[in-house]
């Protein structure tokens, strides 16, 4: 979808997620807390899609940035009395960006299994630090009592999650605009080039390694912001934002939705988190079983995820209707 031959204008169907989100705000007031969480994960999934779907970097450690952002905001709010939400976001973004650029610069020279292991090691290290530094992070009990001041001094985070929902929606919208812009730019086209044929990008003179470090850092920053949003919404941080599990969950969400198509990052978390909310509490065994089966099926039969299937049906439909028209003539 990105590239020199594609039209960058926003198509009507691209507004659909926003219409649905606003409708949900008015029609489902009792689910707004869940809704805010979904929005946060969409932003997180978008950041992963940027490096996985477009640049082709496979990682099991994206939670390192999410978690770092979450703890940065949490520690500031709970221990240092920095309660302004924007300051918290900014600090989280900076921290995640720093971690992104420093680890990216080191690990992006490797690939395949080695890269996978290194990303996993990094998030595990961050997890261990968060676990051991309990005076700062609360350790295994988590960090509660995170103070978040009203947004712009006007909108308090209320019990029903109304403020949180709108706040996350705005953040996601801005993140989406940014990523969309990026993907349609020459930089986005260049990323697609790296994913499609890295050797070729070298041969047209692209400094591939530095470009990867750059996009990795951008993605890390965005993941950090998503993490901070989660903290602000929950006013709590737990160890479950770090390590292999959240990375794996995120990967699953993105795969289910569809990798490398921008809106897969919207569909996946919605389906996954809502299903989890319903199923996981009552039937945890079936939940894992179902997700496992889904993953296997997606990998074997539907590489494009849910959106890929929608695409195929759409094409099949339009082909049938056009052939019907042709035969009618």
């Amino acid at each position: 979808m990105s590239g020199y031959t594609s039209d960058p204008r926003i198509r009507p169907q691209e507004l659909l997620p926003w219409i649905i989100a606003i409708a949900a705000f008015f029609l489902l007031p009792e689910y707004l807390s869940l809704g805010a969480r979904v929005l946060v994960y969409i932003l997180f999934a978008l950041s992963l899609d940027l490096i996985l779907g477009y640049a082709g970097i496979i990682t099991l450690g994206h939670s390192a940035f999410f978690g770092l952002g979450a703890y940065t905001a949490g520690i500031l709010g709970a221990k240092y009395g920095v309660t302004d939400p924007f300051l918290q976001l900014l600090a989280a973004a900076l921290a995640a960006a720093l971690l992104g650029i420093s680890t990216g610069a080191v690990i992006l020279r490797t690939k395949a299994l080695t890269l996978l292991m290194l990303t996993l090691a990094i998030t595990s290290i961050v997890l261990e630090i968060a676990n051991k530094a309990s005076s700062l992070t609360g350790g295994a009990d988590g960090l509660s009592g995170v103070q978040v001041a009203p947004i712009l001094g006007l909108f308090k985070f209320d019990l029903f999650g109304r403020t949180a929902f709108i706040y996350c929606l705005v953040a996601l919208f801005l993140g989406w605009l940014l990523i969309r812009r990026l993907l349609y730019s020459p930089f986005g086209a260049m990323l697609t080039g790296i994913r499609e044929n890295t050797a070729r990008m070298h041969a047209v003179g692209a400094p591939v390694y530095w470009r990867l470090v750059l996009v990795y850092t951008l993605s890390a920053t965005m993941a950090g912001v998503a993490g901070a949003l989660l903290t602000q919404v929950n006013q709590f941080v737990g160890l479950n934002v770090l390590g292999l599990e959240p990375s794996g969950d995120l990967l699953v969400m993105l795969i289910l939705g569809g990798v490398g198509r921008l809106y897969g990052a919207f569909v996946g978390p919605v389906v996954y988190l809502i299903a989890q909310d319903y199923l996981a509490k009552q039937y945890p065994e079936y939940w894992y079983f179902g997700i496992g089966v889904l993953l296997v099926v997606v990998v074997l039969f539907a590489r494009g995820g849910i959106l890929g299937l929608v695409d195929q049906w759409w094409q099949a439909l339009s082909r049938r209707s056009s052939s019907a028209r042709a035969s009618a003539r």
Partner: protein
Amino acid sequence: MILYVISVGLSVTMGLMGFINLAHGVFAMAGGFILSTAMARFGLPFPLAVLVAFVVVSAGSIVLERLLYSRLYAAGELAQVLFSIGLILISMALARLVYGNLAAPVFLPDYLRGQVHILGRDFPTYRVFLIMFSALLIAALWFGVERTRWGAMVRAAVDNRAMAQSVGINTRQLFMATFALGSGLAGLGGALGADILPVQWSYPFEHLVYFLIVVAVGGLGSLRGPFVAALLIGVADTACKYWIPEFGAFLIYVATMAILLWRPMGLFGVRA
């Protein structure tokens, strides 16, 4: 040593076949459960039960390989990673349904319990047995890969699959057999280790990281690699937890990172 037995199986599938199989722990868990069931339900003696674990896991893995894995040999790493995560989730759910939340009980026979005197010190018999057993296994595997026709064929097929096929090696069967062996070894490791690493439903996920570290650090496609790495990781982990418990697993990851950055292909990696 348990890590070694399990990981060497993984090294066989990952390294020799080039398939990123995160679901390897599943086979280890299956081995442990089969051992437990065979002993508790059917009253099989320990050695026989271990053998059963190995055979059943190998056989089961052949079915999986034919039905699912073989479709993904040519697929990208991402597909392989996701697919194996899917398998892990499925198997964990099944294990929890069948065996519940508890670890599978394992009853060692009397002759493997207690202590033995070696050089004036006491060692648990079972651990000594495990170490000896692993040593034998290493020797056998090394012989198998380096010195037999099968080993030569596998190495040839991995180097250049098309070429191997054109000189008349049936790579399909060969990969199937190799996969079965790798998984069987995992099952064996899971079964033998059940006393030390308790087998329960969360097993494939909990130990995944360790298996992966061992293989990545050791290097793909080598037998010596995972052995040295398992030893290194095992010793380092125990030492760290003993001397500086406040750092916990921290140092293991740092060490892994350092080694991988120093030698991206692992200590004994052969494939560039």
